[in-house]
Amino acid sequence: MWRKPNEAKPSSPASNTPAPAPMKLQETPQAASMKSPSVSATPVVAVAPSTPAVPDVPVVASPAHVSALMNAGPSTISAGLKIRGEITGTSDLIIDGDTQGKIRLTNGCVTVGPNGRVTADIDARDIVINGTVQGNLKASGSVRLGPSSHVEGSVLTPRIGIDDGARLRGNVEMTRLGETPSAAPEPAKVPAAVRVAVANAREE
């Protein structure tokens, strides 16, 4: 009488397979923000996929696949990386690391991320700065200085956008849209010693 009748359980593919080992999912910031503070945190367990595991077989990429991968998006210099030298090309570039030298992507967009530190002149179609740059910016399209940007150098571009909080030490000069900017204009930085020497020469 008190015996609970055997109910038909909902069939699931996982029920027929051995129970998988619990696997914690990494919590994303979005997920964390969605949580109510009153709700206690419970471990999230991922259910193993029902499909059988694919055996490890080395995959040989076709040339077309490699080409598609290479054209998939911008190249990235991640935080923690340091690069010295000249960077040229046509694709877009995101810099979140430390870069010194020269950057010339005439048909690309150069984005310096919040962690990016660039000591180089940047010549590109579009330039977006959210980090620190010591060098001149030359763009044939536009330059955008984000709120956390800190630029020491001249800006030569047909269009400029400056967010509140941006820091710029240098001059801004506008060119015509599509025009290849010429060399950065004055005022050039003159070392103090040189200025003193010139002043002394004038006095003499």
Partner: protein
């Protein structure tokens, strides 16, 4: 250049000017903190005859200020001198803190600090600019740095160039940064204090600071802020 030598447009009347431009209320947010600036109007008039005049803004960079000068064909440079000074002091303090005990621990004079700061700040050739917007910068510089900065600014200015500065008549209640709204209006933007107001200058002291300059003109606003325009 001086004020007597440069002829003003005879047709410009107060009514005509008022009709020609939308005015501060129309061009900024209704709750914006703006002030009419006769000093700015005069400053712009002085550089208006110079083709592609070069202007240096010693405040933070703002889109509206950049646009204002670019649209008029000027070349504009910015250098937030007060923030640079603050960053410099913070760096020096950090160096001292990290220095081993007994090494570099001696007290550094304000004079040495000022000289060291100007080795990297305001590095422009002589006669580079036709106009410099200093805002209320001089109120915040200490006694050692101020004359050195003035000396440097004087060298950077072309002959006939002008400096526009503001001086508070009493210590300001809060720290502001400034940007241009139109050719006669400045917007005051409340900002976190990055420097303590050093002192209130008397008129005589202001004239002494700008002693090298040829002529000066002072405007007093309703808010008791004195605007001083000095010509090299």
């Amino acid at each position: 250049m001086n004020w007597t030598a440069k002829a003003r447009a005879a047709t410009t009347s107060a009514v005509a000017v008022a009709r020609a431009k939308p005015g501060p209320v129309a061009s900024v947010a209704p709750n914006a903190n703006v002030r009419a600036s006769n000093g700015l109007k005069e400053f712009l008039w002085l550089i208006s005859d110079i083709e592609r005049a070069r202007v240096l803004d010693l405040g933070p960079v703002w889109q509206s200020t950049i646009n204002f000068f670019i649209e008029r064909g000027y070349r504009i440079s910015t250098e937030d001198l007060l923030r640079s000074w603050k960053d410099f002091l913070a760096t020096e303090e950090e160096h001292l803190r990290q220095a081993p005990v007994g090494e570099g621990g001696e007290r550094i004079s304000q004079t040495a600090l000022a000289d060291k700061f100007l080795e990297t700040a305001l590095q422009y050739p002589e006669d580079s600019y036709h106009g410099i917007l200093a805002w209320d910068l001089f109120d915040y510089l200490d006694g050692e740095l101020l004359p050195r900065v003035m000396q440097r600014l004087y060298k950077m200015l072309c002959a006939g160039g002008s400096v526009l500065a503001q001086f508070h008549s009493r210590a300001p209640e809060r720290f502001h940064r400034y940007r241009l709204v139109d050719k006669q209006t400045i917007e005051l933007l409340p900002a976190p204090t990055i420097a303590v107001h050093a002192r209130v200058f008397q008129n005589r002291e202001i004239l002494d600071i700008f002693g090298q300059f040829r002529t000066s003109k002072t405007f007093v606003g309703r808010d008791q802020v004195r605007e001083a325009l000095f010509l090299k």
